[in-house]
């Protein structure tokens, strides 16, 4: 990510509020700048994750190909599939996308729907290896047309002789009851067949890339006798994926998988427990204790806790002057992460994220520890005036008593935060592989220390 070369110097400032203000207002009276339905959505690189969720990480298109050996037919106006060439550059995604472009006449007559079964058959015939599954991806226009894609997919299955499933890249519904990333999980897990239950099998639902294999979550589960811990991303083929149907229970690590877990509970009688990703050691410990209680087992849930806490304390000791700017394009809840570092004694300059109802607890806790921390919305129009790199507006606006800001070393956490501070120390922490538990905190702290040391070396060299 590059720094903005054309600085805006208008004297105008981006709108923001302190965590103290937001904690006092509460979720019911959240200012309009944090409510995306109340303003136009600013389209900066920092807001890319919102405006184009598939541009980085997993959006519907990449997630839709989670089943090994599957291919995707995107049925849409040309613009919807335009950025797919970027995904095809990722290893494992080459030659897996096909396109059926919709014209104006198709929109009026819906004749494109009749072509889909034949197109699927032609694609299957053209593949060197027979695909395990064809995902048919449709977009906003079909959402508006009310297309029954389930029926179309059934016709395509008959024509091609392999499973065909719909996936809905409906940006229009992403803040609705069933956003696209919820639906895609439902669609994929709907393929799991009824299997004989095995007590020693557990599924991790939620992510399309693996959970860090070094997370203590795995050893905790293994210690209570779990032999098979399956994730969609680690299944080598569709047969292994189908074995996810034998699980004794599911652990839901991302709330977007909750609807799919509900479906599996109804259809295959696999119960589930939902976990959150925390970085605060005490919060991690409490969650593990609660999980043990729900499973009716006993385990040493503090396993790994001291190593993570020691790492955090060592970071504070080695670099007491670090100040954090925390974004939302990160494998974390930005507010929980801010609280974790605040609790460890670090200063938090700012957070880039719209507060959600579930963030109320963190905002209140942050208000007690760091009331002047400012909260920005990446999507709000006045963010065009955020003064890259200088942080001056923060000093004047928020740091009257004890300026945190430019006197200390600023570390950005999250790719979007890095965008605003091109000359500071960056830890993106947004890899596909998903950190979890104490190990997540330990590795994050290590990544920060590594970045700070790298910056020091760079400064010495120059």
């Amino acid at each position: 990510m590059r720094a903005d070369s054309k600085r805006v110097n208008t004297g105008m400032l981006p709108e923001s509020h302190t965590v103290a203000d937001l904690a006092e207002l509460g979720p019911e009276r959240l200012p309009d700048i944090y409510r995306t339905e109340r303003h136009l959505i600013y389209n900066s690189p920092a807001a890319l994750a919102f405006n184009s969720p598939g541009a980085e990480g997993f959006g519907v298109k990449r997630a839709g190909l989670a089943i090994p050996g599957s291919v995707m037919l995107i049925v849409s106006p040309g613009c919807c599939g335009r950025n797919t060439s970027e995904i095809t550059a990722i290893r494992g995604y080459e030659d897996r996308f096909f396109y059926l472009e919709i014209s104006e006449t198709d929109l009026v007559t819906a004749r494109h729907l009749k072509k889909i079964p034949e197109a699927v058959r032609e694609i299957v015939d053209s593949c060197v290896e027979r695909p395990s599954l064809v995902m048919v991806c449709i977009t906003c226009v079909d959402a508006l047309l009310g297309t029954d894609m389930e029926r179309v997919c059934r016709a395509a299955e008959t024509a091609a002789g392999i499973p065909v499933r719909p996936c809905y890249m409906y940006a229009l519904t992403r803040e609705g009851r069933k956003p696209p990333m919820v639906q895609i999980r439902q669609s994929l897990y709907s393929l799991l067949p009824q299997q004989k239950k095995r007590g020693a099998s557990v599924n991790l639902l939620g992510y399309f890339a693996p959970v860090d294999a070094e997370s203590e979550l795995f050893s905790l589960l293994q210690d209570i006798g779990v032999k098979h811990i399956r994730e969609i991303s680690t299944c080598p083929d569709i047969l292994e994926f189908c074995r996810m149907g034998e699980a004794n229970f599911n652990l839901v690590l991302n709330s977007e998988a909750r609807a799919a877990a509900d479906d599996l509970a109804d259809r295959l009688s696999i119960p589930y427990i939902e976990l959150s990703r925390f970085y605060g050691p005490d919060r991690i410990e409490k969650q593990y204790e609660a999980l043990a209680g729900a499973l009716g087992v006993k385990w040493d849930s503090s396993k790994g806790k001291s190593a993570a806490e020691d790492g955090l304390a060592a970071l504070k000791k080695a670099y007491p002057d670090l100040v954090f700017s925390i974004g939302e394009t990160i494998n974390a809840n930005s507010f929980e992460l801010a609280l974790t570092f605040c609790e460890a004694g670090f200063d938090i300059l700012e957070i880039f994220r719209n507060p959600a109802r579930e963030d109320e607890y963190y905002l209140k806790a942050l208000a007690g520890l760091s009331p002047e921390t400012r909260v920005y919305s990446n999507m709000e129009p006045t963010m065009i005036y955020y003064d890259f790199g200088t942080g001056k507006q923060e000093e004047s606006a928020s740091c009257e008593a004890e300026p945190i800001c430019r006197k200390k070393r600023l570390v950005t956490l999250g790719k979007d935060a890095a965008w605003y501070h091109p000359d500071d120390i960056h830890v993106y922490w947004n890899s596909d592989e998903q950190p979890f538990g104490y190990m997540g905190l330990k590795k994050l702290v290590e990544a920060i220390a590594l970045a700070v040391r790298g910056e020091e070396r760079h400064e010495r060299a120059s």
């Binding site: 054309k6 303003h39 106006p77 613009c79 059926l100 032609e122 940006a171």
Partner: protein, 372 residues
């Protein structure tokens, strides 16, 4: 099957073309979409996005906005934005959603005009660009140029200044138009300096809003791509500014074909006897004006060459073979027996058995790859 793509990814859409023209002009650009289109336009098709800020917004439509046709809400959000930001104009850019629900773009323009007036806010040029994501970028560029120029004319915003004999205006030169955006602007500038021009205005590239207002000062306009023709034609009608359709400096690409071709920069080229490898037939696939200019340069250099020009994008020139389906390209290469192909190498996938010489000339609007 018609419309089925197995090798090529979708081309740059019209909405990207429209934004590309307007990107650097200091306007508020409202893409009427749910978010994904705005993300694609900027995050993928707009190379300036990572280095140059522009007030590009998504309307952030949700399903009920589309179902209920909440134009007033869109106008309210836009007015809020106008109050908060400094802007030269407001542009509404269409996507598939407004195309499906039948958004009346001229009504949006009227509503915003009226609202600004009611609130005693300064009037702003308002552009209504009904792109739909189902056409290619060249249509969007053409619409954006024309919409802006027409709006300036309607509001009497063109400067009353004399013609400058050293000033030339180029249309159809956005990052989506040019094979090599930075290098091509240098090539074009060098060629036009040789013609005696010292003020070279790249409309749709780095020209600012005032350059459009000062367009009457251009002594000549050049449509470097087909999508610049309508703008040149408008300015000819309005100010009697002559124009030509040409890609100045295209002969610089001869260096790729003929490394020993002398100094195209000075026009000092010698004739060759053969194409590389003794070939006689060559197929050029790219934006039609560029491809024709390059073809012309090749023929000047090697009059006996058999040059075929093709393009995936619209061309009014009937000598340009229009490609529409993947099979069209495969068939053309086979039928023409092209010994050399100059095209974006993403098309190699369509001719796996081709044994001739394939020379890569990027075409980002086609391939979606900046570096193939």
């Amino acid at each position: 099957m018609k419309g089925l793509r197995k090798a090529l990814t979708p081309f740059a859409p019209d909405q990207s073309g429209a934004v590309s023209v307007l990107y650097s002009l200091g306007g508020i650009i409202v893409i009427i979409d749910a978010g994904g289109c705005a993300g694609n336009i900027c995050g993928f098709d707009e190379p300036r996005w990572s280095s140059e800020r522009s007030a590009v917004f998504s309307a952030g439509l949700r399903d009920m906005d589309a179902v209920m046709g909440r134009d007033r809400l869109l106008i309210k959000k836009t007015v809020d934005c106008v109050r908060k930001l400094k802007a030269n104009f407001v542009a509404f850019v269409g996507t598939p959603v407004p195309a499906v629900i039948g958004t009346d773009f001229s009504a949006l323009k009227r509503m915003l005009d009226q609202k600004l007036s009611e609130l005693s806010l300064p009037p702003l040029p308002v552009l209504a660009i009904p792109t739909d994501g189902m056409h290619t970028f060249d249509r969007g560029e053409s619409l954006a140029y024309l919409s802006l120029l027409q709006e300036l004319a309607e509001r009497n915003l063109f400067a009353a200044i004399p013609v400058d004999e050293k000033r030339v205006g180029l249309f159809g030169v956005s990052p989506l138009d040019l094979p090599e955006y930075d290098a091509d602007r240098k090539r074009i500038s060098a060629a036009l300096r040789r013609e005696g021009f010292s003020k070279i205005i790249f409309y749709g590239a780095d020209a600012d809003f005032s350059a459009y207002r000062n367009a009457p000062a251009n002594v000549l306009n050049i449509a470097v791509s087909e999508d610049g023709v309508a703008a040149c034609s408008f300015l000819q009608e309005k100010f009697k500014t002559p124009y030509r359709v040409d890609f100045p400096g295209a002969d610089d690409y001869l260096k790729i074909l003929f490394p020993d071709s002398g100094q195209p920069d000075t026009g000092n080229t010698a004739e060759a006897e053969n194409l590389p490898g003794g070939a006689q037939s060559i197929l050029i696939v790219n934006s039609s004006v560029f491809a024709q200019s390059l073809g012309k340069a090749i023929l000047q250099y090697l009059p006996t060459a058999d040059v075929t020009i093709a393009s995936w994008f619209a061309s009014k020139n009937e000598n340009v073979f229009r490609l529409r389906e993947e099979d069209d390209f495969t068939r053309l290469v086979t039928e023409q027996k092209s010994e050399i192909i100059m095209a974006d190498e993403v098309q190699k996938k369509l001719i796996p058995d081709y044994s001739g010489t394939f020379i890569h000339i990027p075409e980002f609007a086609l391939s979606g790859k900046r570096r193939a």
